[in-house]
Symmetry: C2
Subunit: 194 residues, 2 copies
Amino acid sequence: MSLAPWRSYLARALQKNRSQPHSRYFQLATVQGDGYPANRTVVFRGFVEDGNQLKIITDVRSEKIIQIHHQARGEICWYFTVTREQFRLAGELTLVDYNHPDPQLQAARYSTWEQISDNARSQFTWANPGEPKSMNTKYFPISDIDRNKPSDNFCLLLLDPVRVDHLQLRGDPQNRCLYILDNSGIWNTTEVNP
Amino acid sequence: MSLAPWRSYLARALQKNRSQPHSRYFQLATVQGDGYPANRTVVFRGFVEDGNQLKIITDVRSEKIIQIHHQARGEICWYFTVTREQFRLAGELTLVDYNHPDPQLQAARYSTWEQISDNARSQFTWANPGEPKSMNTKYFPISDIDRNKPSDNFCLLLLDPVRVDHLQLRGDPQNRCLYILDNSGIWNTTEVNP
């Protein structure tokens, strides 16, 4: 698969904003079972090898799992504070849990687990997220976590963009470009009014 | 109306992050007519007087208008980069356009128009957003815009939170608190696992 035309602009934004650790955070919107929107900050974990899918990690106990099973569609909003530009990336979501049958995706799950920090790995052993905090809550010691075998709670989440909206606030007027993937797998690029 | 219990934490975050202009930006998720999520960065314009509603501004020609007419529900995700904390605010959205009959909300629309910058005001006179850029596109000179009378394209957008999820990444483990508004207008506060 060839790189999508918006990839070079995103790579440039990541490069120019690299002084800010938060430039690798973005907001992922999904839809709840009741039809209401949900929105949270997640961390960009790079692209799937040879593809345009963005990697995110999540806990199988997270609320977004149910939302994605209900409807596997997401929109990322990624604002870069140094260069003042925004990417909105909409597309299909794929959950890769411990049970996922695809060996390539399972390998990506394993390698992502190896790449994250001890601190990030330890969070998958914490008490059930969203439940009332209890004095009895135990936290697993970090040294006991196997770097080579992902926690069963550890889930890789992929977003495969089909529509990308790139807005650059610098400029008068601002610059905005739409990238839309058609049915034959071709990206169509249109400069639009901001 | 009394201030909601999460207001003091949000005020503290705004204060502690005030060195960063982007600390007044957040991401607003809505749902499209086709049931897919949408997500974009918008600017916080303060609270409605004597209330907990957050003010946003938008253009009546923006795609989010149709989405909000379809379903008036939104979730804000607001990440503060200095203090490393996130507020997720879910609630009902109210559009206050030039035609809105409520005199108080219309007054809020007028005063918000007066408070924004000349540059922000000028954007409401730009060519139709999202349409292909044309060489013929004209941009209105800023000096001609009336500060006392909002453009008909100018819309005030309010989000009235009913659920607030406050996560502080600092701390081991992290601190997370849920605020839920019940039917009698009381905010219930629960500390939960992150």
